[in-house]
Symmetry: C2
């Protein structure tokens, strides 16, 4: 009896990897395969991956991709697996390329306010290392303590501070990346400005591992603000809190963060919290003008809020932010959270929230909402029974209506989590047929055989 | 006698444009052709363009490109022609697509802090319109009073304020653009965040008219700062001024602008100015913390400068900035300025300046230098005899050494002016062969027949 052709190809691929990679890189241990098959979204991968390569050097990536490309083996690049859209799910026959072991900070220049890091560096660790030089890495996705820089770049991750400091793309100066055929390219530069050539750095940022595998990144660091002032305001309705958030923008203040938490989330964290109001807005201002800006924010909030607390003490500030940080763990206690990530123009935030409440009622699906209010970035979270094999139809339909709502209000399907597999069926609606077709042709330039993270993103 | 084949194709092209465009769009008037053949760099175009299409609507652009693509006619998109790298030069047989007449502000939303504009809107006019709503358009290239938004996007223009607010790309949320074959695409969105699909907006920004013709842009506006504080400091040497500029960064201050002017430029503006010092550094801080930040800057400058003046009065601030604004007009009185635009990592600014002085001495070519110091963006300006037909060899060699210097110090050929034709021969050195080849393949996706601004950029 001869092996089926696909088995032969897979076996040949694994043989080549075993031959050409250092001995500790390749594993087919079933426990490892299972641990690398999905991400924090819990999306079922559809089968078992072929193997995991634990890359330690750029050379491991080039060897792996060269063979995979020659043999047409799908490759799923992976950082810490904290993605929320299924971008790192690896199904039947796929090779998982685990970059979490490429975790060295190669350079940290206080003079040039930049760092050169491998993709597996944990985001919060880079921020901590920068902190010893009076600097910080501004992007702070909620997963920062676990997620990797490579994964952050793959999804163009946001976070709380991007209200003022921009998303991951705004902190990426240059990249080293490996194309599908194993070619290494360098993009961008070590300077904050530069226009030689097309902006491949921005093109790779947010491409969810479908164009190239990032093996190093030159990242911008920024001075740690000299002062911080934090306010927490309670409101009688989520809509009023949303309106308060854009009254802050209208007053000309750019807060460092502005986080909105709705009543059901407050209740999930602690029923006592939800007795204080139907919504909580936490605003932080930073820099030399922090206190003056916080005072301006307090004046804007006063007529709208039922209570406002403020502090310039960092420990008290953390206590005010605690409700926001506890939101996801609290919802995870209730079931499996399906975290949506829509963005609407800032002025439509209150309208979006009203519509989401209608969608929730219509489908009888509880929706919990937190928002990065300054960006118009809403996370409506549908919590489903974790024992179910697949999402209930009602949850799926509610999610679809939430996406349609985002597009109708002039917004987007995903602000910072990426398309992954979960939002893929709505992508063409947002991009339109012409831009969608153009994007597919760009994919062909980078990855003509479509081995890089197939089925994700576009 | 029959016409040569190329004449037939050109004539056929002009016939199709005359048939399909509204009557006032097409001109072959020799005075118009001459006026549209080069840009502010004064680069000789090498022949006379075929015709000028003065587009008024997106439809004019699609008609023009559809016919040009079918017949293989080169098209040079053009805004106000204020480019400094020859990006809008249009030689023998090229069609000039003049977008300066598409100059409507289509929308200005104070609530969402954005504007939707046609590409021919003058940059300063958008900023002024935003000002009536307490907002501003942050990018402020020195040409802002004349240059267009479309041209700014084509070169990813910088300016003074990008020290704090980023370059043009950081203010472009979305674009409408026409591909070479006449297809209209929409990129990006109306929200500050969003990761659906690859970042075509960033890819088109800085592409110098070689990928698509921009017909509308959705631009981010920002609140006008509540306060501004300005300092001017005089130094005994340019190197000390450069060192002072990064001492500001080291102190954790992000100034709104930090402009450096060297002694020869001061002398060209007014010999009395150069008696005050060998270099001038003008720093502006803005926002609620402006005064506190300016005080911190003054403390940093005090031990290094020979004199420091400061003001919070906007009229006095303009007087302090006047020397910087007068630099280019003053040099234009001396001859034809060839303005270089290199960027080096901030910490290498003083070293770059020393090396530029050596290059100047070695080739006996006077080099005048101004710099956006916070970005490490230097403009070494070689002034040549305007009566010469071509650049003297010594000027060309000095320019080449300045580019090599930028790359050696880990910098780039161009920070904000673009490659155009003038820097083209050095592009491959910066990008490296692999990234260069990849960029050419991207060009093929957008413009397979290479009709869009041929000979520019890559």
């Amino acid at each position: 009896m001869t092996a089926a052709p696909e088995t032969t190809v897979s076996a040949r691929f694994l043989g080549l990897l075993a031959r050409d990679l250092p001995p500790d890189r390749l594993t087919t241990d079933p426990a490892e395969l299972a641990a690398h098959a999905t991400d924090r979204s819990g999306t079922p991968p559809g089968g078992e991956p072929l193997a995991v390569v634990r890359a330690r050097r750029t050379g491991d990536v080039t060897v792996t991709l060269r063979h995979a490309n020659a043999l047409g083996i799908p490759v799923v690049p992976r950082g810490a697996g904290t993605g929320l859209s299924g971008g790192a799910t690896a199904g039947e026959g796929a090779l998982v390329l685990d970059l979490s072991g490429m975790n060295r900070i190669l350079e940290l220049s206080a003079e040039d306010q930049l760092a050169v890091v491998e993709p597996g560096v944990i985001t919060a660790e880079l921020d901590r290392a920068a902190g010893t030089h009076g600097l910080r890495y501004a992007p702070d996705p909620a997963s920062a303590a676990m997620s990797t820089i490579g994964g952050n770049i793959a999804t163009n991750a946001g976070g709380l501070r991007c209200a003022k400091y921009g998303v991951t793309r705004d902190s990426v100066l240059g990249l080293e990346a490996v194309l599908a055929d194993g070619t290494v390219i360098a993009t961008g530069r070590r300077t904050v400005k530069g226009v030689t050539g097309y902006d491949l750095t921005a093109l790779l940022t947010g491409s969810e591992g479908t164009l190239a595998v990032i093996t190093s990144a030159t990242l911008r660091l920024r001075p740690t603000p000299v002062a911080t002032a934090t306010l927490a305001a309670w409101f009688d309705s989520f809509e009023t809190a949303a309106e308060a958030s854009y009254a802050i923008a209208r007053a000309g203040v750019v807060p460092a963060l502005a986080e909105l938490v709705d009543g059901p989330v407050l209740h999930a964290i602690d029923p006592a919290l939800s007795e204080r109001g139907a919504a909580l807005l936490v605003v932080q201002c930073d820099g030399a003008g922090a206190a003056a800006e916080a005072a301006a924010v307090a004046r804007v909030l006063a007529p709208l809020a039922s209570a406002v607390q403020s502090t310039e003490d960092p420990v008290e500030a953390e206590a005010l932010l605690a409700a926001r940080r506890l939101a996801l763990p609290a919802l995870e206690r209730l079931g499996r959270p399906l975290i949506e990530d829509i963005v609407v123009p800032r002025s439509r935030l209150a309208e979006a929230v009203r519509e989401i409440r209608c969608i929730s009622a219509r489908h009888d699906v509880p929706v919990f909402t937190i928002a990065h209010a300054a960006d118009g970035n809403l996370h409506p979270i549908i919590v489903v029974d974790p024992t179910l094999d697949r999402l209930p139809d009602a949850a799926w339909e509610a999610a679809g209506e939430i996406f349609a709502l985002a597009l109708r209000l002039g917004g987007t399907l995903t602000g910072e989590h990426g398309v992954g597999v979960l939002k893929r069926q709505w992508v063409a609606d947002e991009l339109g047929p012409t831009a969608h077709a153009l994007q597919r042709r760009l994919k062909d330039v980078f990855d003509p055989r479509h081995i890089l993270n197939p089925g994700k993103g576009l």
